[in-house]
């Protein structure tokens, strides 16, 4: 099943000024509340551009070279049929049939969409936000930037809220289990294309699902911009496994606000893979709102050349007996940089919570740099919170040991890097997901298997 585009063609000027915004709005056919929220957000965006970004979050992230005016939003009908079938995008998953549904976006517009009839019959919605916001306006209005990501947070959240193009929506009704994983593919193709996709996942009480989302570029040369948002909203006893593999080319900018909220006894397993982009900055919050809510946050990043991968993570415990467990594993090479600033926040209500955060980084060259800064802010008096960070180089003795068994120096290093990430992969029970992450890393290491 392929859903036709809802948007009409019109030329949108480059950049994100007033003229671009009005031209962009004229291409949208959306409920009034959406248009109004865009106008409000655009106003905020213009104001927030004048104010300083939170130094705590952005001190180490150099955005001066980003130049938004170079990038351009696309209207749907500009897509050629060749690109619309998605065949020239670099997904690792090509030909894998284990998914119960797919959504594919190109340059911010829906390219294709399918969902198994069985799931559709159970009331599961899986599609493009630009379509779903019209067909299920009330459902989206209730959850869209109301609970998880706040458009007023900073210039990026407001920018996204004004210009969001579409994105993948997953809605799973009460007590419905989606057993097979779902796949969302977000691609950039045209030179200087912008993707403002918004991922919105709503799991009602007792629902469960697994979604694998990949962002990829069709070429290695084209400049790209992603200003995105991810919202994960879990009801009581809902279970979600969400993976976002950021695998843009090294010419893309990736800025995103991402947040998950979990109600009583819900479980969120959230894995981010940071492979691509010139510069990526992700603000990632998990908020545990209900008693017994649980979140496991995994990060796997691999930075090379002059890439910058920056993460600002928060684990908020707003209710008693909540548990959060964050594990980031970061590998760096060449002149790359990784920045991780992690915070565990426990409100006074969050008694008997257990918060954990850990960041391990492995540096493959003397010219890369890691800043890992864990932090705790605890208002409750009966909690267990621990954190730690390690950074080190590849152990020469490990390399020698592997080489003495016949492996070349590179093969040894690759094996050690894969092993370093393995402890995160061990936490992901869905094989196709684990294998996708692993393949992305192997590919980046520079050899096929």
């Amino acid at each position: 099943m392929s859903t036709p585009s809802v948007n009409t063609s019109a030329a949108i000027p480059a950049g994100f000024g007033e003229a671009a915004f009005e031209a962009f709005l004229s291409t949208r056919d959306e409920p009034e509340w959406v248009t109004q929220s865009r106008r409000d957000a655009f106003k905020s965006y213009c104001e927030l551009l004048e104010s300083e970004l939170d130094p705590e979050e952005f001190r180490r992230v150099d955005l001066r070279a980003m130049r938004p005016d170079r990038f351009q939003l696309n209207a749907a009908s500009e897509l050629s049929q060749d690109s619309a079938d998605g065949n020239d995008t670099g997904t690792i998953l090509k030909g894998q049939a284990e998914f119960a549904g797919h959504v594919t976006h190109i340059d911010g517009q829906l390219a294709s969409n399918d969902l198994s009839a069985e799931l559709a019959a159970k009331g599961v919605i899986f599609g493009d936000l630009a379509v779903v916001v019209r067909d299920h306006s009330d459902l989206i209005k209730k959850h869209f930037m109301t609970k998880a990501v706040d458009s007023e947070t900073d210039r990026f959240s407001a920018w996204h809220a004004a210009f969001w193009t579409g994105g993948t929506v997953l809605y799973v009704p009460r007590n419905v289990s989606v057993e097979a994983p779902l796949h969302s593919l977000i691609t950039l193709q045209a030179e200087k294309a912008a993707d403002f996709s918004h991922t919105l996942i709503i799991l009602e009480d007792g629902a469960s699902a697994t979604l694998l989302e990949e962002t990829v570029s069709a070429t290695t040369e084209n400049l790209g911009l992603h200003v995105g948002a991810v919202e994960l909203i879990l009801g009581q006893e809902a279970r979600l496994r969400y993976v976002q593999l950021q695998n843009w080319n090294q010419k893309a900018w990736h800025i995103a606000h991402q947040a998950g909220r979990v109600e009583n006894n819900g479980f969120l397993q959230w894995t981010v893979g940071g492979i691509g982009a010139k510069l990526a900055h992700i603000h990632q919050d998990v908020v545990l709102d209900g008693r017994g809510a649980e979140a496991e946050v995994n990060g796997v990043t691999f930075s090379t050349e002059k890439q910058i991968h920056s993460f600002y993570t928060q684990q908020a415990h707003n209710a008693p007996e909540t548990r959060s467990d964050l594990l980031y594993k970061q590998v760096l090479r060449d002149h790359s940089r990784a920045i991780w600033r992690g915070m565990i926040l426990v409100e006074a209500e969050g008694q008997q919570t257990n918060g954990y955060q850990r960041n391990d980084s492995l540096m493959l060259s003397p010219t890369c740099r890691v800043d890992a800064i864990p932090g705790l802010e605890i208002e409750a008096d009966d909690v267990r919170c621990t954190h730690g960070a390690t950074a080190g180089r590849v152990d020469e003795e490990q390399i020698f040991y592997c080489m003495s068994r016949g492996m070349s120096e590179y093969e040894a290093m690759h094996m050690i890097v894969e092993g370093f990430f393995q402890t995160v992969f061990d936490r992901i029970p869905v094989e196709v997901v684990r294998e996708t992450l692993n393949q992305a890393i192997i590919k980046k290491l520079g050899f096929g298997r």
Partner: protein, 265 residues
């Protein structure tokens, strides 16, 4: 028949000369014991043979069938049929024993293999791995564990012997494979080694203890003192050293004894 020949080997560690002219010849099928007091240079010889970057060869040769290997990387030496069983095997977190061994075996059996090229077929590999593990009394579950991660001392040494069994080198150097093991574990390792050694393998056993040699009777025993091999004898020499220690050796070689590095007490 292959020949490993070491001539006038000089090795320094951090600019300090440790080996000062070592000569040694091992033919395929022979078992040699290398003994000597602490600090005499036994492990240095083992590491230098394997190509550890911290051990600088400042003179002399190590040849396998006439090819001087001192300029070769450790992996190239391994592919020529040299194996070192480590005194302190290295932990590689996240890398499963089976994956590690399959890569190692593919490289050693196909010395021209490049990274990313095909590995030994899984079925063939598994059959051989499980067979060898069974012979060494190892739980097949161990193949799924991460290499040496959380292994006991005995498990690590057994893992070295398993690798030896899988890689079937022409020349194996065992660096104090019996150290730190209780007598049961030494027995397992000794029996394993004796089962593996034969006409196809030359073995150099570096040891302080008698037990490993009981099961693996050496044809030659070498004694190292202050970076040189000062005496070579047969199995009786090993027995004598076990009984009397190194005082007789020092008396017979006063010049070498005078060069010994006195260990801080």
């Amino acid at each position: 028949m292959s020949l490993l020949k070491i001539s006038d080997l000089h090795v320094s560690v951090s600019d300090t000369p440790i080996l000062k002219g070592v000569d040694l010849e091992i033919k395929q099928g022979e078992i040699h014991a290398l003994m000597g007091p602490n600090g005499s240079g036994k492990s240095t010889l083992a590491y230098a043979m394997a190509g550890h970057p911290g051990y600088t060869i400042t003179g002399g040769k190590i040849e396998i069938d006439g090819t001087n290997i001192i300029e070769l990387d450790p992996n190239e030496r391994a592919r020529l049929g040299l194996f070192l069983a480590f005194q302190y095997p290295v932990v590689i977190p996240g890398v499963k024993v089976a994956d590690f061994l399959r890569h190692a075996m593919s490289n050693v059996r196909n010395p021209d293999r490049k990274e990313g090229e095909k590995l030994i077929p899984m079925r063939e590999f598994r059959k051989e791995l499980l067979g060898q593990m069974n012979e060494l009394g190892m739980d097949p579950e161990m193949a799924r564990r991460y290499l040496n991660d959380g292994f006991s001392g005995g498990e690590k040494k057994r893992m070295e012997i398993l690798q030896l069994a899988m890689l079937k080198p022409k020349f194996a150097v065992l660096d104090e494979t019996d150290s730190g093991l209780d007598s049961d574990a030494v027995k397992v390792v000794s029996e394993g080694l004796s089962r593996l050694s034969g006409p196809e393998m030359g073995v150099l056993i570096i040891t302080h203890h008698e037990r490993l040699l009981e099961f693996n009777q050496p044809q030659f025993t070498h004694v190292m003192l202050a970076g040189r091999i000062v005496e070579t004898g047969d199995a009786n020499l090993a027995a004598e050293l076990h009984e009397h220690g190194y005082s007789n050796i020092r008396e017979r070689h006063p010049e070498a004894a005078a060069e010994e590095v006195v260990e801080a007490v």
